[in-house]
């Protein structure tokens, strides 16, 4: 720890909802303002911006605000910035920022993820769905077979787990049940009602074995994390959280050529870069755009053996707020909304600062893991409060 490290300082989040009418740039501003206020920083002290996946003109709801636009709109003088989709996943924007502050490119970097998918779908006149005659790139290997959603791609990994390792619906349900129980305690969560096992088991299938409640849903929100240089912490008024290790590895960049998802090599790489071990971790915030991804992350990070993820979370006690390894304490994406990766790092910082209020885990937590991504996309952050 020290001057050469990167830290998460201010964190912020806009209103989280569906079909919001507030402009996505202003949602981003709301999250920026909250993060600046918490850190005691002014916008003039921000000298870097990093985002995922950058503005996506063909799918503006997926990513409506680019880093270049934010820099211009907020009058930031950036000495370093980046935004793009060709990175290890959503939280890759944070690993990029961490490297930037560690190499002196910037001192305080706004990292953000703004999503506007529910609003865009509700207002097609403003956010038209692009029409393409033909598909190319990676989607040509899935779309012609009507494998049109990451739910379908992820379901095939989950099905292998079912058939090879015996994952049951009751085990898989624990990700959604835990997330929804925690979301009920999070005032900003998209879904505030708990989910029962009976409701889960009665839900319609989307792509077997994934049912409706195994999937996150389109959300409008912005989440901001400020990454600061270790030698700039004297400018910051909040408790800094150190990025103790980070990883984002892939073996085949493909949803169907890889034997398993990229979280597995990423999880192994994370522990090779730190002296911390799994037993030091007080809480895990694991990507659950689809519930099975969180189970894969538990295995990938070595909290249990590969194939044991379902049995590891059986009954849900171990991953509950008062369990030995509280998971997705804000609700995950299934409960809190599709904040798309950034919600996990945001919540890790909330918990490590003891600011979780009704959902705060006991025991003065000091170390957390936050991850993003599924399929060929994976980023893991090990976060520590020193």
């Amino acid at each position: 720890m020290g001057a050469s490290d990167a830290y998460i300082t201010g964190i912020g989040q806009s209103e989280v909802g569906m079909k919001l009418t507030r402009h996505p740039l202003l949602l981003t501003l709301d999250a920026v303002r909250e993060a600046l206020q918490e850190a005691g920083l002014s916008i003039g002290q921000i000298d870097g911006v990093s985002t995922y996946p950058g503005r996506v003109p063909a799918m503006l709801g997926f990513s409506p605000v680019g880093s270049d636009e934010l820099i211009d709109a907020l009058g930031i003088r950036a000495s370093w910035y980046a935004g793009g989709i060709e990175i290890s996943s959503q939280l890759g924007a944070v690993t990029a920022a961490a490297m930037a502050v560690r190499t002196g490119q910037a001192r305080h970097v706004i990292c953000y993820r703004t999503v506007y998918e529910a609003a865009a779908m509700a207002r097609p006149e403003e956010y038209p769905v692009p029409r393409r005659d033909r598909v190319d790139g990676g989607s040509q290997w899935t779309a012609p077979f009507n494998a049109l959603s990451a739910a379908v791609w992820t379901a095939q990994y989950a099905m292998r787990h079912v058939k090879q390792f015996g994952l049951t619906r009751e085990q898989l349900a624990q990700i959604a049940l835990t997330g929804r129980a925690n979301a009920a305690l999070n005032p900003r969560a998209l879904v505030r009602e708990p989910l029962s096992m009976d409701e889960y088991l009665a839900a319609r299938m989307i792509a077997s074995p994934l049912c409706l409640y195994d999937c996150d849903r389109y959300t409008d929100a912005s989440t901001v994390l400020i990454v600061s240089a270790g030698d700039a912490l004297d400018e910051v008024s909040c408790t800094p959280v150190r990025i103790a290790a980070m990883a984002g590895s892939v073996e085949r960049h493909s949803w169907d050529q890889a034997e398993w998802m990229a979280c597995y090599p990423t999880g192994a790489d994370l522990w090779s870069r730190t002296d911390y071990t799994q037993s030091d971790v007080d809480t895990v915030q694991l990507y659950d755009g689809f519930s099975f991804q969180a189970i894969a992350w538990l295995e990938a990070l070595g909290f249990c053996e590969k194939g044991e993820g379902g049995r590891f979370i059986e009954g849900g006690k171990r991953i509950a707020l008062d369990g030995e390894l509280p998971l997705n304490t804000f609700g995950g994406q299934i409960g809190a909304g599709r904040l798309h990766g950034f919600g996990f790092a945001h919540e890790a910082v909330v918990q490590l600062r003891g600011k979780g209020e009704a959902r705060q885990i006991p025991g003065n937590p000091r170390v957390a893991v936050a991850t993003s991504g599924g399929g060929p996309l994976a980023t893991a952050l090990l976060l520590a409060r020193d």
């Binding site: 190319d136 989607s139 040509q140 077979f145 990994y157 989950a158 319609r204 050529q257």
Partner: protein
């Protein structure tokens, strides 16, 4: 499925794969130097970086490596349920094809099932679908 499928844009790398069905051939790219199969097809071998690559026909049989039954209508005209599967073609180690298993009940599909290719033509594209070998 009568509803038109999204079709690939054909180019020099993928044309053989998507049109081999006109000759009832499942064609995969292969390195002529080290014999590694290259999928998705590209003009370079990912094992030895040789540019000496060409497509060749494989048997057209294979094994279901995993699958899902898709129940969600991702657009209103979609006919559900149907099976999306990942098939490992015989004779092409390391290659998987995302495809549909057709010609059987969706509940009749299992990992490890033996399958054979059947091509569905739409415009200038021959989609390699698979059906179970009884």
């Amino acid at each position: 499925m009568a509803v038109p499928r999204p079709l690939p844009r054909l180019d020099s790398s993928n044309r053989d794969f998507w049109t081999g069905g006109a000759n009832n051939e499942l064609r995969l790219m292969r390195c002529l130097d080290c014999a590694t199969f290259i999928h998705p097809p590209r003009p370079v071998c990912r094992n030895c970086l040789s540019e000496n690559v060409a497509t060749e026909a494989v048997a057209g049989t294979g094994v279901i490596a995993t699958f899902t039954v898709n129940y969600q209508k991702w657009h209103p005209a979609m006919e559900v349920p149907f099976v999306v599967a990942r098939v490992a073609p015989d004779g092409a180690p390391g290659v998987y094809l995302t495809t549909n298993i057709v010609g059987c009940d969706v509940d009749a599909v299992e990992i490890g099932d033996r399958v054979r290719v059947i091509f569905e033509q739409q415009d200038d594209v021959y989609l390699p679908l698979f059906q179970k070998i009884n």
